[in-house]
């Protein structure tokens, strides 16, 4: 997709190049790459649970920021808008198609989850992050901004299925609520960056109530299980490192 001709569609530069498995470059200090490198991307088609479309919006006066400027800022300073306790280890240059970012997420009960995302699409109006195998959900999140009347409406929209039966149980018993709080906090921080105290609107639609039982085996890739095992085994790894090093 990098070779451009007159026949090249105008969206060509906005999409990530084709990848079969995710590659991770340097791992930033504090990040863990146990659930990203070598993993495949997953769309809602590959997920297990019910399919949801969740939309979170915040309205800002367009005199304060235009949609294009809002998206440019959001892409450049994306990690700064994440809620406390969660880290997005992306490139310092902002969000660009094909970038892979490592994530450290706070789960209910104080659990940590190490996972990642790839930038599937990014242009001046929107950008989309897609999840890899093992992430709590299979799907993508699209961040966009549009002018509606005299307002700039910033939006985060998640299209997802829980990746496996354990995540589905987790989402049912508090996980969806946790996710709502996460995106509320993100949009509140985004609005605050522009000096605005906007209320976040939420719309949740269950697109498909069926669970895809043929996908239950996704549990073997679970980033939550692998992160927990990795954390529990950390003292043993340190000990072995001292003996051999």
């Amino acid at each position: 997709m990098s070779h451009m001709t007159d026949e090249t569609p105008r969206d060509a530069r906005s999409w990530a190049n084709p990848v079969t498995q995710l590659q991770v470059g340097d791992v930033p200090e504090g990040a863990t790459n146990i659930n990203v490198a070598g993993r495949r991307l997953t769309s809602p088609i590959q997920g297990f649970g019910k399919m949801w479309q969740k939309t979170y919006k915040v309205r800002l006066p367009s005199a304060v920021v235009s949609p294009a400027d809002l998206i440019a800022t959001w892409k450049l300073r994306f990690p700064e808008f994440w809620p406390k306790g969660n880290r997005f280890y992306g490139p310092l240059t902002g969000i660009a198609p094909g970038d892979v970012a490592l994530l450290s997420m706070k789960l209910p009960g104080g659990m940590k989850l190490s996972t990642g995302v790839m930038v599937l699409f990014a242009d001046e109006e929107s950008f989309t992050l897609m999840t890899p195998q093992g992430h709590m959900f299979a799907g993508w999140i699209t961040f966009s901004a549009a002018q509606v009347g005299d307002e700039t409406v910033a939006q985060a929209q998640v299209l997802m299925r829980a990746s496996d039966p354990i995540y589905e149980i987790g989402l049912t018993f508090g996980g969806h609520r946790q996710e709502d709080l996460f995106w509320h906090a993100t949009l509140t921080r985004l609005a605050a960056h522009f000096g605005h105290d906007g209320a976040v609107e939420t719309s949740v639609v269950c697109v498909d109530r069926r669970r895809q039982w043929s996908r239950w085996r996704n549990v073997w890739q679970s980033a939550a299980i692998r992160t927990t095992v990795h954390t529990v085994a950390a003292p043993g790894r340190r000990l072995r490192g001292r003996r051999t090093g």
């Binding site: 105008r10 495949r40 088609i45 590959q46 966009s144 498909d208």
Partner: protein, 120 residues
């Protein structure tokens, strides 16, 4: 919000098989047009829906999301979804988003109709 620049015309290619000719841009703003076309095809009794992308000019991630939603509607009604006319660029996007695992992609309308079981 952006105005849709999508056209989606429905034609019955064979008994139980409808082709939706998609032209222009496919984005989140195309929802009304594509859902109307899908509903039209379903009301004609389509058991298989063939999406023609020969006149596709632009698609963003919102457009891909919309195709996933259409696919779910079709699966609920036990309809098969096939596609043809995708350029190399859009084929790669179907592969990247793994939409190709649920939508049968073909080189030509004839090939798609054969797989759809059209009897002419």
């Amino acid at each position: 919000m952006h105005k849709s620049m999508t056209a989606a015309d429905v034609r019955e290619a064979a008994a139980g098989v409808c082709v939706i000719d998609i032209a222009g841009d496919v984005t989140a703003a195309s929802e009304e047009v594509l859902v109307a076309a899908y509903t039209d095809a379903s009301e004609r009794g389509a058991r298989a829906i063939v999406l023609s992308f020969t006149a596709l000019e632009y698609m963003n991630s919102g457009g891909i999301g919309l195709l996933v939603m259409l696919l779910v509607r079709a699966q609920r009604k036990r309809q098969r979804v096939l596609a043809y006319g995708l350029s190399e660029h859009y084929r790669q996007i179907f592969e990247l988003t793994r939409l190709d695992e649920a939508v049968g992609i073909h080189d030509s309308e004839a090939a798609a109709l054969t797989v759809a079981g059209a009897k002419g």
